[in-house]
Symmetry: C2
């Protein structure tokens, strides 16, 4: 048997398990649920192993057997992936966590984890012959998909809330995307995109409405396992908006268990971290239901997780949390800002507010004892704080040209 680049076999409905053909463009299953990619893991186990992967290029395509793109020549990335896993000794001491680590997605193209979903999602869309795509975005996803769309020669139409970080407007626009602002939240943008898609000229790449974005996000879980020497930490904390990242990490670890590359009897407890001002997953977790209630008029400084109705992803997010004995917790914006200051002062790292939420949540869970001091804890920082000038303003003393204080601050 000759080695293949991808061992993708089918797409299956997340509710019924019904199989769909991955060789043609697919959105949702017949029952309206998300489709997930399935691989011939027995064949993967024969074809490759961790030692082989260790010698490959240092990007997310090193896991190509577990990704959906069929043709190696169809990949035209930016060297994305294999972001650093950084020890946080000083912050860990302050929080009472002896083994605290930071998966830093700010190193990716466009400065956020959204590049993973776009790298794989756009490459696969191009391979399937799709030429025009559309999506709602809280800003960073639009920027990432605009970047890869330009790279692959695909046309992107995106709508983002007017309150999304301003820099996202420039990123998408410079890359040639057709980008509009909407006077509302991402749920409103989603409805507007759905209307556009109905006209039949765009393929819908909204969160979990096509099966390949989550495959890109999955590589976060693959990398964490490889970077820890093919084992898992005790706890992973993840800031949750649409939930694709957490779903992807969970899917990655299940696939690695089935491959036998990580122990089968051990899964990290997955923690979904949400903002007090937008906490639909936490509410559902606390009430024990499987489906979330959509919220409205939600608000948080961590704009990426201002997703009031993450309906498609919620069942999988809740399953990831519950099946791993994890938890869903909310963090106030005040605690997020305090956590941002703490990690910046202790370690010199400036995460995005969403990433800082995981710092705050880890501290709170340590204080309640839910996390033990010797637990190995991985914080997922989804992006660069330096894209959030809008919310990270400071006031600094102004000197005149000779260097003398003016008494003024700017």
């Amino acid at each position: 048997m000759s080695a293949r680049f991808s061992y993708l076999t089918s797409l299956t409905g997340s509710r019924t398990g019904e199989a769909y053909d991955p060789a043609v463009p697919q959105n949702l299953g017949a029952d309206g649920s998300t489709l997930f990619a399935r691989y011939d893991l027995d064949a993967v186990r024969e074809a490759v192993n961790p030692d082989v992967i260790a010698g490959r290029p240092h990007d997310l395509w090193r896991y190509h057997e577990l990704l959906p793109v069929q043709d190696p020549d169809a990949v035209h990335g930016f060297g994305e992936g294999m972001t650093p896993l950084i020890d946080l000794p000083k912050l860990g001491r302050h929080l009472g966590l002896n083994r605290l680590k930071f998966k830093d997605e700010s190193a990716l193209p466009t400065g956020t984890f959204k590049a993973r979903g776009a790298a794989v999602g756009v490459a696969r869309a191009a391979e399937l012959g799709i030429r025009r795509i559309a999506m709602p975005t809280n800003g960073n996803a639009g920027a990432a998909w605009a970047s890869y769309s330009a790279r692959y020669g695909i046309e992107l139409t995106a709508i983002q809330p007017v309150d999304a970080p301003r820099i996202n407007r420039s990123e998408s626009s410079f890359a040639g995307a057709d980008i509009s602002l909407i006077d509302g939240l991402i749920s409103d943008a989603g409805r507007a995109i759905a209307q556009l898609v109905e006209k039949g000229e765009h393929f819908d790449v909204s969160t979990l409405k096509e099966p390949y974005r989550v495959e890109g996000k999955k590589t976060m879980g693959l990398e964490i396992a490889e970077q820890l020497g093919w084992r898992v930490p005790d706890v992973i904390l993840y800031p949750t908006g649409g939930g694709v990242g957490l779903i992807g990490i969970h899917k990655a670890l299940l696939e690695l268990q089935e491959l036998g590359w990580i122990p089968k009897d051990r899964m990290p407890r997955l923690v979904s971290v949400q903002a007090e001002g937008c906490d639909p997953i936490v509410r559902a977790f606390e009430t024990g239901t499987e489906n979330v209630e959509p919220l409205s008029d939600t608000s948080t400084i961590a704009f990426g997780v201002n997703v009031p109705s993450p309906m498609l992803g919620a069942p999988s997010v809740l399953n990831a949390v519950r099946s791993t004995h994890g938890i869903a917790v909310r963090v106030s914006d005040e605690d997020t800002m305090a956590a941002l200051h703490a990690i910046a002062e202790d370690e010199g790292l400036l995460p995005c507010p969403e990433g800082a939420m995981t710092v705050a949540a880890a501290g709170a869970l340590r204080r309640t004892g839910w996390i033990a001091e010797d637990d190995e804890v991985v914080l997922l920082n989804t992006g660069a704080g330096n894209k959030y000038g809008d919310v990270l303003g400071v006031s600094l003393p102004l000197l005149d040209r000779s260097g003398a204080p003016t008494g003024e601050s700017l």
Copy 2:
């Protein structure tokens, strides 16, 4: 002979060659010129080779024999380095360059190449017992040094022009640096820092006033050579402010030649790219002198290269350019913006304006025939465009909450 972590032997004055002790903090030589680190390259050649380096962690410390830090336990980085070298096929076709590549420093901590100088400079300062440092900055260097200073527990005082990118203020301030704004240019900030340093409480880490920042920048050259399979391209274009990066790349390639890791008879032509509004190096290159004339009231949208009097670095920059049969060229802000649009639309990459200057310069040098169509050309993108919201503003259509056009643009 047991292997050492670093093969640093001495610091030598760039003008006289006089040797200084690297085991204690050093600023300039007695004649006021920059000190450069020297290594026992014969011993390095015995101790390590490219095959060994290939198996090391994917960061700039893989070259530790050629870096100044003595103790491996003194390194507490963020996994920095080994940034991607990306092919630019579509942009290359448009510019008539068949082998165009992009060294993308936006993947580094704080999103710019300044992290290299800070990673090595701060680690070495900490190892030498230095506790308080001071520097002028055009913004990104201050952000990077603030980040590593927090990580290593060093106190940083920095002064940056009030027109530096606003996000740099937040980055430095959140990391706990003592940061002030000055109503002037980096040359004014430099004078104010010199006054502060005279008081004797701060070690001066201004550009080329200490010998280790350039060692960090040197790793750009080491990485380009390794990523090309231990050979050099035909041309490297570099946006030049203080000039440390170009000096570092040149120094790296000379050391690799002496090691025999790259061919001795071939050096890339090094191109110093400056802005029309701030071109002291280009003026000196064109008039054939060795020293630059300081300028005043310079201006460019590429703020990082708004360095009106790069006196310390100029002789080394001019030597790097002239000895490699390179050239120094200026680019207008209009051409820089056009180049930014071109690379974003063609390839989906959003470089900083300084990085975009190299795109414009490559196109111009191709048109004059100075670069041939089959020359292998590396553009140095020094940082992420998404830190430059101030100059990359766009206007986008605003939809109301239902998705209908309002006729307004924001």
